[in-house]
């Protein structure tokens, strides 16, 4: 898949699909934080990388000099007319002010703490069902047999799609988020195949014919300024919920289990003290935040002494911000009861992850149920663990032995 030569100098030629970054990006960011806190690479047509917490915050808050028009760095650079303005491909994540606030407002009530609490029982049943299916096995893949299914099936449930379509969803996600190092021709072919749009259009047609009590019908019924949403807005938002809501949380659950598989003291502590779980979940989210966002520079300007040019990409690594020792003492250690933890795993500013309450609930329930059933487990072979490439980082294979 990757056509890129290996990275030699991370300060001048970084690549987030490089095997070393995919395997373990933390030493790379730690070094850059001291040597070159705003790195540049000519790859992808020119990309910036701030790694200090303060600089990540500054970019996240600056919607004047940065646009969210495209938030996935790839070889395909959107041109001025490529995306339907002002909506963007997947509103509101790809929208800028002032349209952003309108598009976001529509979705917020569906993701409030109260609304999400309504999905906890289904999530817990699903986790128990997945664990029951592993009964009698001594070796399980915590990603393939467990983590990946949980957010996938919850989102399918929220959107009111057929559960049998889970595999179609997994393929979409892989194409959009992981194949970013594909050539422009390969990536364009995927986009132009129209498979995702066609799938969504079919679901929209079904829901228009037979409205139901789900998020799809909610979006189709929603109004902006007295008008129903444009079809491309509904479709884009559904694609966003699917892509942003699934492999992100799957990565967080997987990374937490990967950590626990290697830290018996942390396993014992969580098994003995279930009330510690919400605090521990925040620490897993800080230490293994899955999502690096991206921006494009909206206008030429100078940032921390570097000349940013309109149209440059910028990776916005919230996971690197979370490892900044100046904000998080002992940042590279996982401290399950870390009491002061203002981590940025869900982003900062107006684009704060709209599904953060959902993700937190899913991670907590998934870990509670796993620890309840399998309090003791270890990696069968650490070299078999694989991590996803691209801007959503999580373990895709976690073979564990039940002890």
């Amino acid at each position: 898949m990757t056509h890129h030569p290996p990275v030699v100098d991370w300060a001048t030629d970084f690549d987030h699909t490089d095997a070393r970054w995919v395997e373990n990006p933390f030493p790379i960011w730690d070094e850059l934080r001291h040597t070159c806190p705003v790195a540049h690479s000519d790859r992808y047509g020119g990309t910036w990388l701030p790694v200090r917490h303060g600089d990540v915050v500054a970019v996240a808050y600056d919607t004047e000099h940065f646009t969210s028009r495209s938030v996935v760095v790839s070889e395909v650079r959107p041109g001025p007319n490529d995306l339907p303005a002002p909506i963007g491909l997947a509103p509101p994540i790809t929208s800028d002010p002032p349209f952003h606030a309108l598009a976001r407002r529509l979705l917020l009530p569906a993701f409030s703490p109260k609304a999400i609490a309504g999905w906890e029982a289904l999530t817990r049943d699903l986790c128990r069902e997945l664990l029951a299916a592993t009964s009698g096995r001594r070796e399980i893949d915590a990603a393939i047999d467990y983590a990946q299914h949980i957010p996938l099936r919850v989102i399918i449930g929220m959107l009111g799609f057929p559960q049998e379509d889970a595999d179609i969803f997994r393929r979409f996600i892989s194409q959009v988020l992981e194949d970013v190092a594909a050539t422009p021709e390969e990536r364009q072919a995927v986009i132009e195949s129209g498979e995702i749009d066609q799938y969504m259009d079919e679901r929209i047609a079904e829901h228009l014919a037979h409205p139901r009590d789900d998020l799809t019908s909610y979006l189709l019924d929603a109004e902006l300024d007295g008008n129903k949403l444009a079809p491309e807005h509904v479709r884009g938002t559904m694609i966003l919920l699917m892509i942003a809501g699934i492999d992100t949380t799957w990565s967080a659950i997987g990374a937490s289990l990967w950590h626990l598989a290697q830290h018996p003291a942390d396993r014992r502590r969580l098994a003995a003290d279930p009330e510690l779980m919400p605090t521990a979940v925040e620490e897993f989210l800080r230490a293994y935040a899955p999502v690096t966002m991206a921006r494009m520079v909206a206008q030429d300007f100078e940032f921390r002494g570097r000349a940013f040019k309109e149209g440059d990409w910028l990776l916005l690594p919230f996971p690197a911000a979370n490892r900044d020792d100046t904000v998080f003492p002992d940042a590279s250690s996982v401290v399950l009861d870390r009491a002061d933890n203002r981590h940025a795993a869900f982003g900062l500013g107006i684009h704060r992850c709209i599904g953060s309450n959902l993700a937190r609930m899913e991670v907590r329930v998934a870990l509670e149920e796993w620890i309840g059933r399998y309090p003791d487990f270890e990696l069968t072979d650490p070299s078999l663990v694989t991590w996803s490439p691209g801007q959503v980082r999580g373990p895709r294979r976690i073979p564990v032995r039940i002890l």
């Binding site: 009530p109 703490p113 009491a339 203002r342 940025a344 107006i350 704060r352």
Partner: protein, 71 residues
């Protein structure tokens, strides 16, 4: 002790509400505000401190009766 949520900074992370549900309310869009004029009962002071220390946007501040505001 009093707590205050800066509505211009709050982005609806809901951390304060999760850590100190008796001190904060969340509106239907997920944005937080302090309850009871921000007054913190003595037994909730640690919860208030944690709510402030866990806000990713530095939106929650604490005002001690005999000291100035701190983030």
């Amino acid at each position: 002790m009093r707590v205050h949520v800066d509505p211009d900074r709050c982005q609806g992370h809901n951390r304060c509400y999760a850590l100190a549900p008796s001190l904060f309310a969340i509106d239907e869009l997920g944005y937080a505000s302090e309850l009871n004029g921000g007054l913190v009962p003595p037994e909730q002071e640690e919860a208030a401190r944690r709510a402030a220390a866990n806000c990713p946007e530095y939106a929650v501040s604490i005002v001690d009766s005999d000291a100035g505001a701190s983030p």
